[in-house]
Each structure stands twice: as C-alpha cells, then as structure tokens.
Symmetry: C2
Subunit: 222 residues, 2 copies
C-alpha cells in the first residue's frame, strides 16, 4: 500500500471566504494547477468515481487528491493505492471545507508539480454548497439510489456545480429513477450544468466524464 499523510485541519480564521477563495483560485491559475471540488451525499460514490477517473488520466496529468473526512482514513487508503499523491484531511467534526481549510490542504499536498488536484469534500449535500473552496470547477455526484427528486430538495448544491454526475446507473433495475426528470430539474436550477450518467463500478460513461475533465484542465493550465 502507498502511504499518505493525515492532516488535522483547523477552522478557518478568514472572515471573507469569497475573497480568500478568489485568492486561492488566482494562485492555482498562476501555478497551472486545476482544482476540482467534488461533492455528494455520503455513499454516492466519490472515491470510486475518482479511482475510475484517475486510472484513465494518470498517464496524462500529474494528479493529487485531498480526501476530506470528519474522521477515518478509509478513502485516502483507497486513493493512495492508485499511486497518485494523496493526503487525508480530518475536519474535526466540521461538515464542509471553506477556502482557508482547502488552502491548508493544498499547502500540505504541495501543488507546484501537480496539474490536476481533486478535493473530495465531506459527504453532505447541504453545507459544502455554501462555501467557495477556491476550486477551478465544482462537481457533484448524485447516485441513482438517492432518487431523482434531489434537485428539488437540495437546490443550492445543484446550482453551484459545473457538472452533475449521476452515478450507479448499473443499479437502475432496482430503483425508480427518471433520467429526464433529473435533467429537467437540474437545468431549471442551472442551465449551464453538464450532466453525465455513469457507473464508476462498470466504467460506463466514465470516458465522457474524463473528456470533460480533460477539457476543463487543459483550458485552465494552458
């Protein structure tokens, strides 16, 4: 198993999170490092999706991953095994990461030589949507078992994301899930959102997601 560091991040001291986020974004742009903030409910498949993406992109980009979790190192272990640079951020009970907390992670990870960094945010559809982390782009995963009504119930999350990734499409046979309803509900909140339908487990649709991620990264680091 590859190793990873565990960082206990502290509550941010910055009063103006948006200003702090803009500063981080500017710095990452100068360093030519693309940062993706990946959000979802607990268990929607962030880590599995990330592993599927890493296996397809790791020869092309220098990748780093920050696994944020309240407790446990389950995800950092899984990501370290893919061979990319990975650290575990412990939020000490905090339900989200803000810009200052993200920067603590970036500093520990070291971004100088990285092209593509992913922040796997805390599993929560509410609080992370309220805090700009300084990421280049925001994405969220909605898994089929959660249901197609989630854009109605957690509208802010769907509004702030550049991409909505519908995961676990391989399990559709046992759930009632209406693709068209989701597309309609997401587009009503956020007409520019890209929507992908994937199974991180079987690999279906992951190539299309990777094409979008490559395009975003290339535009950011060019």
């Amino acid at each position: 198993m590859n190793s990873y560091k565990v960082i206990e991040i502290k509550k941010s001291v910055f009063e103006n999170n948006d200003r702090e986020a803009d500063r981080i974004r500017k710095k990452l742009k100068e360093e030519k490092t693309f940062l993706l903030n990946l959000m979802s409910s607990p268990g929607a498949g962030k880590t599995t999706t990330l592993k599927a993406v890493i296996s397809r992109l790791k020869d092309e980009y220098k990748i780093g991953v920050m696994e944020a979790d309240i407790d446990s190192d389950v995800d950092a272990k899984a990501i370290a095994d893919t061979g990319v640079k990975s650290i575990q951020l412990h939020t000490g009970g905090m339900c989200h990461l803000d810009a200052g907390m993200t920067e603590q992670g970036l500093n520990e990870l070291g971004t100088d030589e990285l092209d593509f960094v992913v922040l796997e945010n805390v599993g929560n559809l509410v609080c992370p949507a309220e805090f700009d982390t300084g990421a280049s782009k925001n994405a969220m995963i909605l898994s089929v078992p959660e249901g197609d009504d989630k854009p109605l119930k957690y509208p802010l999350m769907f509004t702030v994301c550049d991409a909505v990734i519908v995961n676990k499409i391989d399990t559709k046979s046992v759930f009632d899930f209406d693709d068209e309803a989701v597309i309609k509900r997401v587009k009503k909140l956020n007409k520019n959102a890209e929507i992908f339908f994937i199974s991180a487990k079987t690999g279906e649709g992951v190539d299309e997601l990777c094409e979008w991620l490559k395009k975003q990264t290339d535009e950011w680091i060019k």
Copy 2:
C-alpha cells in the same frame, strides 16, 4: 390529496441548546407525546420508511409528522396522503434543526392530542447529529447503497442514535454490503444501539421496527 401547512422556521435564538432540548423533552413527557427524531443521508428512505410505519401504527396512535427540508414540499405531500397530521418545515438553508427550531414546528403542529410525533430531519449525516432536538429518541437510516463503511466515516451520528435502521435490503443483490461489518462497527461506537434491517419498499423487517417504536412510545406516554 390531504392538505399540510408550510412553516418557514427561523434560526434559533437560544444560546444553550441542550438546556432548551431538555425543557422540550420534559414538556412532551408531561403532555404524553413521544417525539422521534429521524435522521439520514439524502435519499436513504426516511419518508418511505415513515409511510410504512404510519400504515402499521395509525390505528393505534394519534400520529403527527414534521417534515424538515431546506426547500420543497415533496415529503409533506407524501405524508399528508397517508391521512396523518403533517406539516412542512422549511429551514431556509439551514442544514439541521436545533431544539428551538423543533419547538417552532411542534407549536405549529399542535401536540396536545398526539401520541407519536416524528421529526424528519434534514438529509445530512453530519450536522443534525450535533444538535439535541428535544426528541424522546433518535433514530437514523443507513441505506444499503451508501455502503457499510459509514459508521467509520460519520461516527457521531451512529453514537447519538438509539436505533440504526438499515434500509433498502431488497437491493442487496447489486451492492456489496456486509451486515456483520455494520453491526460490529455500530456496536463499537454505541453498544446500546438497536439495529434493524428493513426494506421500506417491500415491507420486510418493518414489523420488528414498529414493535420497537411501540415499546418506546408506550413507555414514554404511560
């Protein structure tokens, strides 16, 4: 369709939430009203489980339901259709309910004549665990698609709950989910937790859950 009220609840003004929660609990005990605080991730099946429970208990108890949601009335509509007294609480972006917010809901619902009230908390495994709502008992739903590692990642939620309800067991064929691992992980955090395995959709295991709920309610209102 039966009707329901939508209440915009305000952020609580009480500094000491625990004291406020104890006061609410005492009042409910005097009024002989049992309050269950039901928590879970988004899409774990709180509303479907509640409908299955209501259909089995509504002839025996006078039931009321408070559906808390950031936005939308999806759940209150579903519950109102069962014929029990139901209101929708809008949290205005807040990720949890505290004791003061719960009391605003209880006052609007009117608990004088109710034996069994359920607060369906906001879908979130993090923040609701930190706030005592004044409930008689806390329960959470972990759905099979979320994975058996959740007690490792959201330990506080599993620690504060009197009952852990593992839902969607009808979908086990398409997920890797280890019952014994969950039981072991939950018991390590909370040795007194009751654990139920159910499918709210097919009804499997719901009778056992209802037996437990009846016992808790009878002990509370006797």
